[in-house]
Symmetry: C2
Subunit: 665 residues, 2 copies
C-alpha cells in the first residue's frame, strides 16, 4: 500500500503574488550558519514554499552580494529567545531572529503571509513567544493504537517499534510552523513496550527521532512509567525516598541522556486512574516529582508532572466527595515544594475536557510552582473529529480567565506563560488530534485545531477568528467569500456542539468509555465522580458553600460570584448549582425550556452548517469537501440523537412539557 498523507497548511500550492516574489529571489543570512540543522531546514522550507506558491526558486546570496532582497540576521539583543522581527525597508525584507528557532519561525511567518496573499512590503512585526514551552502530547501506544485517537493509527509507532519516515519529518515541519517546541510521543498511560522506551531496546530509534525533531527546534519528551524500576528489573519498589530506587534512576537517567542527548525530559502521570505513583509508598506527589527532577537536572531535563489525580472509585451515593476538588486538594498544600525543573501540568478544567466547565482553580492557585496548562485538541468529549468543534474559542476563554491571584497579570495566560510569578519552565501543552489518516485529523476541519493550538500557544493575543482565517487561507481557499463562510462555521461550532449536548456546564451525559454520543445516565451511577444529580425537580451539582464547597478554591471575587446563583455565569450554572427546572434564566426562559430550546436549536444549527458547506462544493479541494460533507452527515445524526435523548430524558423526568409543543419522546 502506498503511503499517502496531505501537507495540510503547508501544501504550498500556487498563490496570487502580492508583490512578494520580488523579495524572496535572493536571501542573505547574517550571523547564522546555513549548515546548522535548524537554519538549513528553514532555508529548505523557504525554497520549497516560495517555489511552490510563487514559482520562484530563492537563491542564497553570497557574502559579496550587494542589496539582497531578503536578509535573515541575528539579533539576540532586541529580540527575545525564539523570537523574530520582520520588517521591510527600502525594498529589502528583513528577518531578525534571536536564535535558530527564531529563524525557523520567522521563515514560516513569511511563508504564511505569502500563502495568505498578503504583501510582505507592509509588514512590521515583532513576534516573541508568549509561552516558553509549547507542547503537543500524543497519546500514542506502541501497538499503533491511539488512546482517544480519531484519525487512524499512530504515525510514531507500529507493532511495538518506532517509525521514522518522511511523515515524521512532515509532522515536525507542521508543528514547528506553528511554533511548537516540545513533543511527547507516547501515551501518558505508559504500559508494556512503552515502559522500555528508556532502554537499549529503543535508544537508537529514540535518538534518531530526537535528531529529526531537533532539526525543527523541537525537544523530544517521553512519557515515563513511574513503576519502571519494578518493570525493568530494578529494585522491587518505586518509593521515591528509597535509596535503591534513587540509585537505579540515577544510573538509568545517565544512560538515557547519554544515548539520547537531545531529550527534553519526561511527562509523568502518577497516582491517576490506576497508574502507579508515590502515593503507593505513602509519599507526596512532590517527593515523586522532585526525585526524578533532581536526577535529570544535570542533563537539563524537565519533569512534567500531571495533576489529574482524583478518586476514580467514588461511590455515586457519596454527595460529599467532589472530583472537581481533587486536583487542588491534592496539589495545593505542597506549593513551593516542587523543584525548579518540575512543571505541574494542569488540565484547563477540574473535571476532564468537557465542552464547558469551570477553569481549574489550581491555575494561579499555585503561586510558587511551575505550571503548564493542558488542553485537549483531540476531540474526546467534543465530537471526536466527526462533529465540527473549533476549540480555539474555548482555549482562549481559559487563557483569558482572571484568577485574581495577583492585582495584575493574573489571567491564566499570565500564569502559565510565567509572567505572573516569573517562572521560566512554564507554558501550554495540548493532547494532539493527529493520526495516520491521509488528512491527519480525520475531519479535515479538525486540522484548524491542530494548527490553531500552536499559533495560540505562541501568540496568545491572536483571536480565534484570526487563527481560523489564517488556517482557511493556507489550507482551503483564499477566496474571501469562502474564507468568511468557513471561518463562520468554525467560530460557531463550539456553541452549536454545546447546545445539542450537555447543558450549562454540567458535562458528561456521554456513552461510557467511548465518550461519543449521548447516555444521560451513562456516568450517573458510576465510580468516576461525574454526576448530574438530576431528579424530578431539577439538576446540577451543588458546589457552593452549601454543597461540596468547591467554590472556595477560587480567589475572591470569583468564589463569591460562583457561590451565588444570581451572579454565577449562566453557562456554568449547573456546574456550580443544583437548580430547579422551573428556575428562570436571564433569557426569561425556565431551565427546562432552555434545555429543550437549545437542543432543538443545536440541531437546526447543524442543518444550517450543512447548507453552508454544500454551497462550497467546487470552491474547496474535492477530497476535503467530500470528507467534511460525510462528517457533517454523521454530526447531524449525532446531534439528533443528543437532542432526542436529552429532551426525552428531562421531559420524562420533569413531566414539564415543551412550551412550543415540539416532538419529544
Amino acid at each position: 500500500m502506498e503511503k499517502k498523507w496531505t501537507q495540510l497548511w503547508l501544501k504550498y500550492d500556487k498563490k496570487q503574488d502580492a508583490g512578494n516574489g520580488a523579495f524572496v529571489q535572493t536571501v542573505k543570512f547574517c550571523g547564522f550558519d546555513t549548515k546548522a540543522a535548524v537554519v538549513a531546514n528553514a532555508w529548505k522550507e523557504l525554497q520549497r514554499g516560495v517555489s511552490g506558491m510563487l514559482g520562484i526558486v530563492p537563491a542564497l546570496a553570497g557574502d559579496g552580494t550587494e542589496n539582497p532582497k531578503m536578509v535573515i540576521a541575528l539579533d539576540a539583543e532586541t529580540v527575545k529567545k525564539e523570537g523574530y522581527r520582520i520588517s521591510c525597508n527600502d525594498g529589502c525584507l528583513k528577518l531578525e531572529a534571536a536564535d535558530e528557532n527564531g529563524v525557523l519561525y520567522g521563515v514560516f511567518h513569511v511563508l504564511r503571509l505569502i500563502a495568505m496573499e498578503q504583501p510582505l512590503s507592509k509588514v512590521t512585526i515583532l513576534c516573541e513567544p508568549d509561552n516558553p514551552m509549547r507542547m503537543y502530547n500524543h497519546w500514542d501506544n506502541m501497538d499503533g493504537s491511539i488512546e482517544r485517537g480519531y484519525s487512524g493509527n499512530s504515525f510514531f509507532f507500529e507493532k511495538g517499534e518506532l517509525i521514522i519516515d518522511e511523515r515524521i519529518t512532515d509532522y515536525a515541519r507542521m508543528v514547528a510552523s506553528v511554533g511548537i517546541n516540545g513533543v511527547v510521543i507516547n501515551n501518558v498511560n505508559v504500559k508494556d513496550e512503552a515502559t522500555w522506551l528508556i532502554t537499549d531496546r529503543y535508544f537508537a530509534k529514540v535518538a534518531e527521532l530526537s535528531n529529526v525533531f531537533a532539526g525543527y527546534g523541537i525537544k523530544l519528551f517521553l512519557s515515563l512509567n513511574y513503576a519502571a524500576p519494578l518493570e525493568l528489573g530494578g529494585p522491587d519498589s518505586a518509593d521515591p525516598l528509597d535509596e535503591d530506587v534513587i540509585a537505579w534512576w540515577k544510573t538509568k537517567m545517565a544512560e538515557v541522556f547519554a544515548k539520547v542527548p537531545n531529550l527534553g525530559g519526561f511527562l509523568v502521570k502518577a497516582d491517576s486512574e490506576g497508574r502507579p505513583g508515590p502515593f503507593t509508598y505513602g509519599r507526596t506527589q512532590a517527593d515523586g516529582a522532585n526525585m526524578l527532577a533532581d536526577i535529570v537536572k544535570p542533563y537539563g531535563g524537565i519533569i512534567i508532572w500531571r495533576c489529574f489525580v482524583y478518586n476514580c472509585t467514588q461511590d455515586w451515593r457519596d454527595y460529599k466527595t467532589d472530583r472537581a476538588r481533587a486536583g487542588y486538594d491534592n496539589f495545593i498544600e505542597m506549593d513551593g515544594d516542587y523543584h525548579d525543573n518540575v512543571i505541574l501540568q494542569i488540565k484547563n478544567g477540574p473535571m476532564d475536557f468537557q465542552i464547558r466547565e469551570a477553569v481549574s482553580p489550581l491555575l494561579g492557585g499555585l503561586k510558587k510552582t511551575n505550571q503548564m496548562l493542558e488542553v485537549q485538541v483531540a476531540q474526546e468529549y467534543t465530537g471526536q473529529q466527526i462533529d465540527l468543534c473549533y476549540l480555539i474559542p474555548l482555549f482562549k476563554e481559559v487563557l483569558d480567565f482572571k484568577t485574581y491571584c495577583k492585582p495584575e497579570n493574573d489571567t491564566v495566560a499570565d500564569v502559565v506563560s510565567g509572567r505572573t510569578y516569573g517562572n521560566k519552565n512554564a507554558g501550554i501543552a495540548a493532547v494532539c488530534n493527529t493520526g495516520n489518516d491521509e488528512n491527519w485529523t480525520g475531519n479535515d476541519l479538525a486540522a484548524a485545531n491542530f494548527y490553531g493550538f500552536g499559533r495560540l500557544a505562541f501568540t496568545t493575543s491572536l483571536s480565534a477568528e484570526e487563527i481560523a482565517e489564517e488556517w482557511v487561507k493556507m489550507s482551503l481557499s483564499c477566496e474571501q467569500e469562502v474564507v468568511d463562510a468557513i471561518v463562520n462555521l468554525l467560530l460557531g461550532s463550539r456553541e452549536t456542539y454545546e447546545k445539542y449536548t450537555s447543558p450549562l456546564g454540567i458535562g458528561w451525559m456521554v456513552t461510557p468509555h467511548y465518550h461519543y454520543g449521548p447516555s444521560v445516565d451513562g456516568y450517573e451511577y458510576s465510580r468516576w465522580g461525574t454526576y448530574h444529580r438530576a431528579d424530578h425537580l431539577g439538576l446540577g451539582v451543588d458546589r457552593t458553600d452549601n454543597g461540596t464547597g468547591y467554590v472556595r478554591q477560587y480567589y475572591e471575587p470569583n468564589a463569591s460570584m460562583y457561590n451565588d446563583i444570581k451572579t454565577c455565569p449562566e453557562e456554568l450554572l449547573l456546574f456550580f448549582h443544583h437548580v430547579p427546572y422551573t428556575h428562570m434564566l436571564k433569557s426569561g426562559k425556565t431551565l427546562i425550556q432552555h434545555i429543550y430550546d437549545s437542543h432543538f436549536e443545536g440541531v437546526e444549527e447543524v442543518e444550517a452548517m450543512i447548507r453552508v458547506w454544500n454551497g462550497l462544493e467546487g470552491k474547496v479541494p474535492f477530497c476535503a469537501y467530500e470528507v467534511i460533507k460525510e462528517r457533517f452527515a454523521r454530526q447531524l445524526q449525532n446531534a439528533k440523537e443528543w437532542r432526542d435523548q436529552v429532551n426525552s430524558y428531562f421531559y420524562r423526568k420533569s413531566g414539564i412539557a415543551d412550551e412550543m409543543g415540539r416532538r419529544i419522546y
Copy 2:
C-alpha cells in the same frame, strides 16, 4: 500447569449403604453386548460408582450364573426408546431397557439412588424421556473464549483447535448421566475458524469427538455459518434457491457426513443480530432451513433453526415496533412449510432470557412445525454465576404454561415434547453454563442448573425441589439438615434475584453489553428494542390492544387475560402494561412502593442467604464452601448496587418518597 477439574455430582465418594451393596456385586447383561460402546461405558460407570460409593467392585456374571443380584435386560416391547424400568423382585434388581441409551440412563439412575443413600429394594419405576431431543448448546468460540461464559474458557477449543482429552469424556459422562442426548459444541455466532469446522482442517478431530460422545449416547451437532459458501471458497452467494449454492452444499454435506458419520446435524442462527441468512437474498426462513434440511436428510441429519430473528437496529423513538412480536411475526406465516427434519428452536420468552418475561407465543402458536424450546442455563441476565439463581423453577413455569393451542395436551411441555401435534423431532435445548474452571460452573451452586436442566428435559414432571435435593445429595451432602438448607437457598434464589433487579417483568435495566449489574437506562435509548418507557408518571410497555398488540399473538383466554390490567398476572404487569407509579397492586401497595419494598427485601434476603451459608461451614466440602462464600459476598454488593440504583432512579423520576422513609439516594 496440572489440569484439574472436579467430578461434580459424579464424585462417587463414600456413602451409607442403604442395603444396596447386596445387589450390585454381580451383574448380568441379557440381550446387550457389553462390548458395545454405550453398554461398555455404562458397565464401567457402574463399577466406578459402586466401588467409590460402597467399596464393592461389581463383577460381570457369566451366562451360567444363577440368581445374579442384578440383571440388565433388553425390553424394547414395553419400554419406549431410551427408556428403562427398574424394579426389585425376590432380592434381584432388574433394569430393563429399550436400548443402549436406556441401559446407560438406567445405570446412572441406580448410581443416583445409591448416592442419595436410598434403598434400591424399594424402587419400582418406569422412566421414559419426555422429550425426544435433550440438548446442550455451547457458545464456545474456537479461540477458547465463551460468549456469555462465566466459568473460565472453553474445554472444547483452544487457540483455534479442538481439545480432546479426559475432561471431554468426563463432560460426556456428566451430561449423559442426566439424559442429554445431543450437544452443540460451538457458538451459534459462527465466525472465523468455526466456519471451517466443516472442512478437512478439522474433520479428524470432529469425528474423534463425535465418537467420544457416541459412547455416551450423545449426538454431536455443530453450529453452521449460513454464509459458509462465500467464506469457504464456494459460490459468491448463500441464496438458498441458487442452484450453485445448493450444489455446493450437497457436495459439502456429502463430505461432512462421510468424514463424521455420527454427526447429528446443525444449529443455525440466520438473519439474527448481524448474522447472514436467507433474508439477505429475499428468501424466507423456510427456504433457508429446508434447503439445508433436504440436503442432510439422506444422512439422517437434522437442521435446528433458531427463531431469534428481530430488528436489532430499532429506533428507540419508535413505539410501534415491538421486539417481543418479532419471533411470532417472522415465523408464524410459514407454519407448515418447514420440512420434517427442520426444528425451530424458540427461546422461552419473546425477548431474551430475562429473569421474568412472558412465554413466547410462538410455542404452540406453530401447529405444523417441529419445535424445540431453548432456555439459558448460562446466567447471562440472571447473575452470571456470581449471584445464585436456581433456574429450574423458571424453566418449569415455562413448561407448565397452558398455551390453549388445543383443548388438552396444550402446555409448552406438551408442545415441545411432541405430544401435542405428534412430532418426533422435538425437545428442549439449553445454553450451557460450563467452562474450564475447576468446578465447571464458576459458582459451585450453579452446577445445580447444569444438572437440573438435563433431569428436567428427561422427566418434565420432576419438581424443582426434587431435582435440587438430588443434586445436593450427590454433590454436597446427604445430611438432611444440610440438604434442606441448601435446597431452600436454591428454591428461593430466583425470586430473590428478581426482587433486587428489574421489577414485574419489565426486564433489562442491565449494564449494556456485559449484562451484569444495573444500568436502568442502559438500553433505554438503544437500538435493541428493549425499553422500559419510564417517565415521571409510570413505566412499562403497553403491549395490549391499545399498544403494540402483542397480546393477540396468544390464544384465548391468554390474550384477553394479558390484555386486561385487572387479570394480567402481576409478576408480568410491566411486560404488558404501562402503569402509573400510583397503581394499586393486589398487595395493597402502590407500584412505586412495591419497587422500593422488593428492592430492600431482595438485599435482605441475600443477607439471610449468607447467614445460612455461613452456618454450613464444615458441613460441605471446603473448596465449594469457600468459593460460594466469596460469590455470595459479590452477590450482596451487586444486590445493593441494584437496590440503590433502581430505587434512586425511580425516586428521582417519580418524586414519590418511600413510605418507610428508608435511605434512597
